[in-house]
């Protein structure tokens, strides 16, 4: 049985060294407190899904985690250093792939652009970008332009761009929210595969409970107003995950029910069975 705890130490992973830590993190837009007093840490190589109802402040949280936004309270620590701006070693994949890729650059140039800025030599740039594109299965599309590709493929280009700089952690903001269901499952498996292959830490924001449970080692449930970490749930489903087999496990259903309940009612009801009988 999984336990729902709002415990700050609820991390898993053999190594246990925290890569990303939120310390008393809070943010407010003017008078409106979005979230407050968030305490959690993400271990090396861990896959954490942040799930919560829409409007709960997931994107704001992600922006403060990555240093794109200065939080009003508390701090984010990445590899031991307080995050003030996007740190080296942390890459971000945005939700809106169509606007995060440059239409005037080829797939290869899009992927290589951050490397160019980092001063990586041309031959090395080419090697790293091609490697990253191979990782996402797009090595035959290097000369194409983003707008010639389907949505799923564009998002894979964005993932390759994140991978090209060889990050140690990757943060994804609802990366599959605007692709169709089939593509979505493909991309989920792709991200899992890449994570296993490269051993990077992943934080993924989603509003989709199934997706969160399917992907994560730990599901972080964000809810309430202002939002707090309602629960950190260990997902002890067998690996590697598989779309059909994993989702057919009773354990999977159990976990998603639990997450669902936590999102709907921040304080879990004492006797949940009584609710639907009416």
């Amino acid at each position: 049985m999984t336990t729902a705890t709002a415990n700050a130490e609820g991390v898993k992973g053999a190594s246990g060294t925290p890569v990303i830590q939120a310390k008393g993190l809070g943010h407010a837009y003017g008078e409106r407190q979005i979230f407050e007093n968030l305490e959690f840490s993400v271990a090396q190589g861990e896959f954490v899904c942040i799930v919560g109802p829409s409007g709960v402040g997931k994107t704001t949280l992600l922006q403060s985690l990555t240093g794109l936004l200065q939080p009003s309270n508390g701090a984010v620590v990445f590899e031991g250093k307080t995050v003030k701006s996007p740190p080296e070693g942390l890459a971000i994949v945005f939700q809106d792939y169509s606007r995060s890729l440059m239409p005037w650059l080829s797939v290869l140039d899009n992927v290589a652009l951050p490397l160019r800025s980092a001063g990586v030599k041309k031959a090395e740039r080419l090697r790293l970008s091609t490697e990253a594109l191979t990782e996402v299965g797009l090595k035959d599309f290097t000369a194409a332009y983003p707008w010639q590709l389907s949505g799923g493929m564009q998002q894979r280009v964005a993932i390759a761009r994140a991978l090209a700089s060889q990050p140690r952690a990757i943060v994804m903001d609802e990366p599959f929210a605007s692709v169709d269901a089939q593509t979505r499952s493909d991309l989920e498996d792709l991200v899992l595969r890449v994570r296993d292959h490269l051993g990077i830490t992943v934080m993924l924001v989603t509003h989709d409970i199934d997706e969160a449970v399917y992907l994560a080692d730990t599901v972080l449930v964000l809810s309430g107003r202002p939002a707090t970490v309602t629960a950190l749930i260990d997902v002890d489903l067998p690996v590697p995950r598989e779309q059909l087999a994993t989702k057919a496990l009773p354990k999977f259903a159990e976990l998603r029910t639990e997450v669902y309940r936590l999102i709907k009612a921040p304080v879990p009801p004492a006797e949940p069975a009584t609710a639907p009988s009416a």
Binding site: L68, F94, R99, P103, S117, A118, Q148, G152, Q182, L244
Partner: protein, 291 residues
């Protein structure tokens, strides 16, 4: 049992969703159908020109006769004589030089200034009134003053051209500076891109669509104002020759100048269209050309 999963992929390792083959920029899928399309469009263009010529001919023989409008045939005859003279080409050259210099100076001033104003909100707020005021004044309205100051010179023409062509470039460049989406800004920031990379690969390309629009509008205005100020202010060029022909009732020649001005306009538009396709081939408005 949990409810069954409705959307389930065959396997984790399935390749990319098909479709969207990488049709490269210059690749042509079906050559023959494209050629047919091209032929049809050229045919329609010729038909439209033919219809316009017929209408003109009919008008010249009826109502237009009293006003001395030449028939197309007569016009071609006169034009053939005129283009053989160096005086014709001097006038055309003079007009072109004025228009190009005036346009070039407008670009040199308008683009950087517009980008600067557009980038900084306080600057935009403080200049809005001046810009809206300035661009509403018709260029010819200040002609008497400029003529008084500089006489019938090229300087007079250039000042008038710049006074008119600068505004669209300025305004479009201001918009251009604001075209950068917050999303792209975040991408640049999250990947710690340096200023040079941002300018070259992000800022400039994303500003180009609006700047190009400004340039196209301004180029046409430059030619128009050059000819008008030659006509009204007497500086050398097509406009002045037009005026001279008009004042001695030489209608045939006058219409050759009119047509010359029109042809220059068409040529200019074609050049700019080609430039736009070269610069903005990636833009949705140009993409149908690469399919």
């Amino acid at each position: 049992m949990p409810e069954s999963v409705t959307t389930s992929p065959a396997g984790a390792g399935t390749p990319a969703p098909a479709g969207a083959a990488p049709s490269r920029r210059r690749a042509r899928s079906s050559r023959s159908s494209r050629q047919r399309e091209l032929l049809a469009s050229v045919g329609l263009k010729i038909a439209a020109i033919g219809a316009a010529l017929l209408l003109w001919h009919w008008f010249a023989l009826n109502r237009g006769r009293a006003a001395g409008v030449p028939t197309p045939a007569r016009l071609v005859e006169t034009a053939a004589d005129m283009v053989a003279t160096s005086s014709y080409w001097e006038a055309v050259g003079s007009t072109l030089v004025s228009a190009v210099i005036g346009f070039g100076l407008s670009v040199l001033i308008g683009v950087p200034l517009g980008l600067l104003i557009g980038t900084f909100k306080p600057m935009e707020r403080s200049t809005t009134f001046v810009i809206d005021f300035g661009r509403t004044i018709p260029g010819v309205a200040i002609l008497p003053v400029v003529l008084l100051l500089y006489g019938s010179t090229r300087t007079m023409v250039l000042i008038l051209v710049m006074f008119s062509a600068l505004w669209p470039i300025l305004v479009q460049s201001m918009y251009a500076a604001q075209q950068l989406s917050p999303q792209v800004r975040q991408v640049a920031k999250s990947y710690r891109m340096d200023f040079r990379t941002r300018v070259r690969f992000i800022y400039v390309p994303s500003a180009m669509p609006f700047i190009m629009t400004g340039l196209r509008i301004a180029a046409t205005i430059s030619l128009l104002i050059t000819i008008s100020s030659e006509f009204l202010g007497g500086a050398d060029g097509i406009g002045q020759r037009l005026f001279n022909s008009l004042s001695i009732n030489d209608n045939d020649r006058m219409f050759v100048w009119v047509v010359t001005a029109a042809l220059l306009g068409v040529l200019l538009n074609m050049l700019l269209g080609a430039a736009q396709r070269r610069v903005l081939w990636w833009h949705p408005s140009q993409r149908e050309n690469n399919r």
